[in-house]
């Protein structure tokens, strides 16, 4: 247990270090290379406002003090006001976060729920027609740009078949304080296409991973031994193979969650999903830079958090990495 705590502490320390480095990078981008007044103060501001902001940002101070000030402000969530909305940029982003998370998590769930069975199927019969078709589909899923797939989904399901709405988010209900659209069927209908769109790339990835892992595991002696024990194939696949697959799978899914959030920028724009990705694009288009900086800070924080969580999960799940108090014993006579 103590070993576990030390491990967590060390990982936390590493994450803090990464955050510090990233904040330095953001700072350099905004304050050292760019013109902070142009970036963080609205272009329509009066000279007095600009002077006041310059004072607030501490621009007359040496650079390292400016950085400390920036850090302090960032920690308080104070990254300037949106030019376009007039609200604090951070609050604006956080307001959109639940919609993005809802989309990203739904996409990940779809990718897992479809990807593991398809990958297993293809891994168990790599030479069969169905196995090779699944593999070909996965290769295609890799090469198609997300926005292109989104377009096709809209064309097929919204325009031609008219089954599902092409844009927007359905009605939301407050679940545990979070506004989610999973409560109503209309909400589901709106969520389905964007989630599918966002899921496709990860689906292709999971299929590949599971298939390769399955083929690999089936070659292992422990599977042969499991067969020699007379176990049913259901148990061999479901327990012996799957449990070995789970570890790399969880790692990849976890690490890829960040990229799901990044790609939700594209999906949200196509499907007019009111998440923070769409906000980012809108902000870039109107040069609403405080929002961009805030988004950047949030995404860096998210990535660091995700990496930390995956690391910890990995240690929790892999018995070989779990710190144990017992040392390996000798065999008896």
């Amino acid at each position: 247990m103590l070993g576990m705590l030390v491990l967590i502490a060390r990982r936390l320390g590493q994450s803090a270090l990464v955050l510090l480095v990233m904040s330095l990078l953001v700072f350099v981008g905004v304050f050292a290379i760019g013109d902070p007044l142009a970036i963080l103060v609205s272009p329509d501001a009066t000279p007095e406002e600009i002077a006041r902001s310059a004072r607030e940002l501490g621009l007359q101070q040496p650079l390292w003090q400016q950085y400390l000030l920036f850090l302090q402000q960032a920690l308080q969530g104070n990254l300037g006001r949106s030019f376009a909305h007039g609200e604090p940029a951070m609050a604006l982003i956080l307001e959109r976060l639940p919609a993005t998370l809802e989309l990203a998590i739904s996409a990940t769930v779809i990718a897992i729920v479809l990807g593991i069975p398809l990958g297993l199927w293809a891994g168990l019969r790599p030479r069969s027609l169905s196995g090779q078709s699944i593999m070909a589909g996965s290769i295609l899923g890799f090469s198609l740009p997300t926005f292109w797939v989104g377009l096709m989904l809209i064309m097929l399901f919204s325009v031609w078949l008219g089954w599902l709405p092409a844009s927007g988010r359905g009605p939301v209900q407050s679940v545990l304080g979070l506004p989610l659209s999973l409560g109503s069927s209309e909400g589901w209908r709106h969520l389905l296409l964007p989630a599918l769109n966002l899921a496709l790339f990860k689906l292709a990835l999971i299929i590949r991973l599971v298939r390769a892992g399955c083929i690999e595991a089936l070659r292992q002696d422990y599977v042969r031994f499991a067969r020699a024990k007379g176990l049913h194939p259901r148990r061999i696949i479901g327990v012996h193979v799957l449990k070995n697959l789970l570890l790399p799978l969880i790692t990849v899914i976890g690490l890829e969650f960040g990229s799901v959030i990044a790609f939700s920028i594209v999906t949200e724009t196509i499907f007019a999903w009111p998440g923070m990705g769409k906000l980012l694009i809108d902000s870039i288009n109107v040069l609403d830079r405080p929002v961009i900086v805030a988004y950047l800070c949030i995404i860096v924080l998210l990535f660091t958090l995700i990496n930390l969580l995956v690391d910890l999960l990995y240690v929790l799940l892999d018995p070989r990495l779990r710190p144990s108090t017992a040392t390996p014993q000798r065999a008896g006579t």
Binding site: V21, M22, G29, I33, G34, I139, L140, F142, S143, L144, P145, T146, F147, W148, L151, M152, I154, M155, S158, V159, A166, G258, S259, A262, F263, I265, V266, T269, I270, L280, I281, S283, I284, N285, R289, I292, L296, I299, F303, N307
Partner: protein, 287 residues
């Protein structure tokens, strides 16, 4: 492996051969766009707004056939696609070559100097690779603004790290070889010898990475253009053409988006097929 052997390697796989032929065809079409396109889509004088949004197969006011329809400004889609193909390919290969040069230089520098230079270059590459390319490109465009040069910059910035990694790995292996030691003893400029011997060894993996990277650069450019952050509207790439048609998609005018989309799809898939086969043929670890 000679070019002939490579070709024979391709011929053994139907899928790869199909990809190669398709790619060759697309390249040819893009190169000959100026000659075979019915219209110069960039020449606004040739456009007639009353020709706008004609479905495939209709005739323009001038009597010319719009085989794939027209867009909202009366641009012949076939011509726009041919020219767009050229731009997409140009920016894809251009950014890849530039990134290749930068990555090669940085990779060799890192491997040759070692120490903190190596650590610095590779840490930056690691951090960068831990974020999705699209995010990095978006941030760069948001900070530096838009335009063709900015797009190129963004595409180069997201790619260099792959090459730097590949080159450094190969270079580290080569660095320990005797001929480098010998050159050092003779006080010859070791890095030049390294470069000379290294290139043939690095080339196969670099070619593989580059082929696939051209495809992803094209896809990324199309995505950025689609998001409205890409090339200027005057010279539309495939991504921008698709974006232009997007608003009409919902009203059933599918052709403005669909046909450029198909062209993009064929381009990316053919590049990936060729890249996959090249990896099989050139990467000894997989044989």
């Amino acid at each position: 492996m000679s070019a002939r052997e490579l070709l024979r390697g391709f011929q053994r796989s139907h899928l790869a051969m199909a990809g190669l032929s398709l790619l060759a065809l697309l390249l040819l079409l893009a190169l000959a766009a100026g000659v075979i396109a019915p219209q110069n889509p960039y020449d606004l004088a040739q456009l007639d707004i009353t020709d706008g949004r004609l479905p495939p197969g209709e005739r323009l006011g001038s009597g010319a056939l719009a085989l794939l329809g027209t867009d909202d400004q009366g641009r012949d889609m076939l011509s726009a696609i041919l020219y767009g193909l050229r731009i997409s390919l140009l920016i894809g290969t251009g950014s890849t070559l530039l990134a290749l040069a930068i990555g090669l230089t940085l990779g060799i520098t890192a491997a040759w100097h070692g120490g903190w230079i190596d650590a610095l270059i590779m840490r930056v590459a690691d951090i960068q690779l831990s974020f999705p390319a699209i995010l990095i490109a978006l941030v760069l465009l948001a900070v530096f603004g838009q335009g063709s040069d900015k797009i190129l910059l963004a595409l180069v910035a997201v790619q260099w790290a792959y090459y730097a990694r590949t080159v450094r790995a190969t270079a580290l292996v080569e660095r320990g070889r005797e001929y480098i030691e010998a050159a050092r003893c003779l006080a010859l400029p070791g890095w030049r010898i390294l470069l000379w011997h290294l290139l043939p060894n690095c080339l196969p993996p670099l070619i593989v990475v580059a082929t696939v990277q051209v495809a992803s650069a094209i896809a990324l450019e199309a995505t950025l253009s689609f998001l409205g952050l890409g090339l200027p509207i005057t010279e539309p790439s495939l991504g921008l053409l698709i974006a232009n048609g997007f608003s009409y998609l919902l009203s059933g005018k599918y052709w403005i988006s669909l046909f450029p989309g198909l062209a993009l799809l064929l381009l990316i898939v053919s590049l990936n097929l060729v890249g996959d086969r090249l990896r099989d043929l050139l990467d000894p670890r997989l044989q």
